[in-house]
Amino acid sequence: MIHSGRFGFVGRRLLQAIPLTLVLLLLVFAMLKVVPGDPAMQVAGPRASAATLQAIRVQLGLDQPVWEQFLHYLGRIATGDFGTTATGSTKVGTLIASGAPVTLVLLAVSTVFTVLIAGATALLAARRPDGLVDRMINVMAAFGVGVPTFWLGIVLLAGVALPTGAFPIGGWGDTPATVLRAAVLPALALSVSVAPVLMASLRSGIVEARRSEYHAAAQAAGVRGWKLTRGFVLRNAAVPPVSLLAALTTLLLSGAVVVESTFGLPGLGLSLTQAAQNRDFNVIQGLTLVFSLAVVVVNLVGDVLVAFLDPRVMV
């Protein structure tokens, strides 16, 4: 009946996500093969003798057939073992565990900012389509998209954090209060480049709903005020932005990588940048996997949300 349609749809999306994840795992694993240079050499150093190199290769299981190595790799991933960092001091797993909360908080706060900024400006812009306010907001939006996140971070540091001291000029907090305070500026920098996309989608959703025949039909039937706006405008205008949410979260995630280095936040983004700078393969492989799996999950959540908001999505 009706409901099975939606849960059926969600079930199908889940099934579709599994092959995608497997392919991602394969790709990330394959990265090992593409890396220039010999992994064993990286461990033992360039001057190691052929015998030591061979021993390391056996120890790392590099001599086994590829698909066996892949299964072995899957086994290790399942238990959270992503290998050790280049310096060998910490396990990549712990690095991920410590960095994840920072990145998650940053994403959460910037998502809140993005929704607030986009929501407010969209409602303002949609009040009089093509009016002065609407055109001005569109220009600012075009600006926002063009402003590099890391530069905005620096301007916020120079213009707000340093002079007022109200916000730390880098690093993370340890209590919820200090964490929030540390997250405000980076999250703001991050959301300014993403909010315009959500704003444009919400704005066009509202304008189109107001210009639609079902809106006129409701008015003709005497529906007015908040009932009209909620039931016939917002409910329909929310569909396009929600379907964009997954893509926007991916944008935020992507931006976070840069913002974390501007503000020195100890998140997964900073680890990824540092790993790239120090050519730390295991960290890159582990983080790439974590990030892409996160995107798969976010897309899934996005599809589910759309399915519940828009009954036509029964495909």
Binding site: L244, A247, V257, V258
Partner: protein, 284 residues
């Protein structure tokens, strides 16, 4: 490159006054970029300061009539260096948008027109690539291919074509059902001719307008990569790199790091003008 913000902004159906044909915006934008690019070759003569000349006596001069953007930690004129950097940033940003544009348009048109397995194959590949957030894709490529312009361009090509492909495929799928395409097929014109002469020309305008705003994205990715030390390396000069180099002196000499960002925004404005102008010209 996961989702190009400009794509959504570009699709506004706005009733602009029919008078403005968009040429004014188009010309201003293009002239701005051309001037910036030209200035990058003669920045020394233009500003009266040799961008590479270190002069420790002139360290950290704030912005002034002599030094519009002030001087940096080695006493070099920041404005002159910003102009020189344009010679690196602009061409790479243009290429970073053009390369994926070509790939995306071709694959998108094929996926839309041929449908069948080609269509699904292209779209599955697109889903896969979009599973990697753009910076992560770039950073992994830098790791594999080493820092520098090369990995940026490969990253742009691998990541950004997806949006073009989706845009063009959508348009081609719609155009394919229109009567005039059916009429061309019925009149015995071969599929290649119908696709190249009748379908693509009507799909290109939207792709070109988007491409114009994709340059802004490509520039911000290039600058970010260099800011992270994974893009343009010294002795090359690039805006993101300049911002990163100036960050340690942010407390008292904010201009060293802040000023190069203005150039990026100026390019963003110019390209936005071009995109707006193009859109209005093509809608006419």
């Amino acid at each position: 490159m996961a989702l190009a913000p400009a794509q959504v902004l570009g699709r506004r159906r706005v009733r602009r006054d029919p008078g403005a044909t968009g040429t004014a915006a188009l010309v201003t934008g293009a002239v701005l970029l051309a001037l910036l690019l030209a200035a990058s070759f003669v920045s020394g003569a233009l500003t009266g300061h040799d961008p590479a000349l270190t002069d420790l006596t002139a360290r950290f001069r704030p912005p002034s009539p002599q030094h519009w953007f002030g001087t940096d930690q080695l006493g070099r004129d920041v404005f002159a260096r910003v102009l020189v950097a344009a010679g690196t940033d602009l061409p790479l940003a243009l290429l970073g948008a053009a390369v994926p544009a070509v790939i995306g348009i071709v694959l998108g048109a094929l996926a839309g027109y041929a449908r069948g397995w080609i269509g699904t194959a292209v779209m599955r590949l697109a889903d896969l690539i979009q599973a990697f957030p753009s910076y992560i894709l770039l950073i992994v490529l830098v790791f594999l291919l080493g820092p520098g312009a090369g990995s940026f361009l490969v990253g742009a090509a691998v990541g950004a074509w997806v949006t073009y492909a989706r845009l063009v495929r959508g348009v081609v799928l719609r155009l394919r059902e229109l009567d005039y395409v059916r009429a061309a097929q019925a009149a015995g014109l071969g599929h290649t001719r119908v696709l190249l002469r009748h379908v693509l020309p009507n799909a290109l305008p939207q792709a070109v307008v988007y491409a114009a705003s994709d340059i802004v994205l490509a520039l911000s990715y290039l600058a970010a990569l260099s800011y992270l030390g994974l893009g343009i390396q010294a002795p090359g000069i690039e805006w993101g790199q300049m911002i990163a180099d100036g960050q340690p002196f942010l407390r008292n000499q904010w201009w060293v790091s802040v000023m190069p960002g203005l150039a990026i925004i100026l390019v963003g404005v110019a390209v936005r003008l071009i995109a707006g102008g193009l859109e209005r010209r093509l809608q006419r």
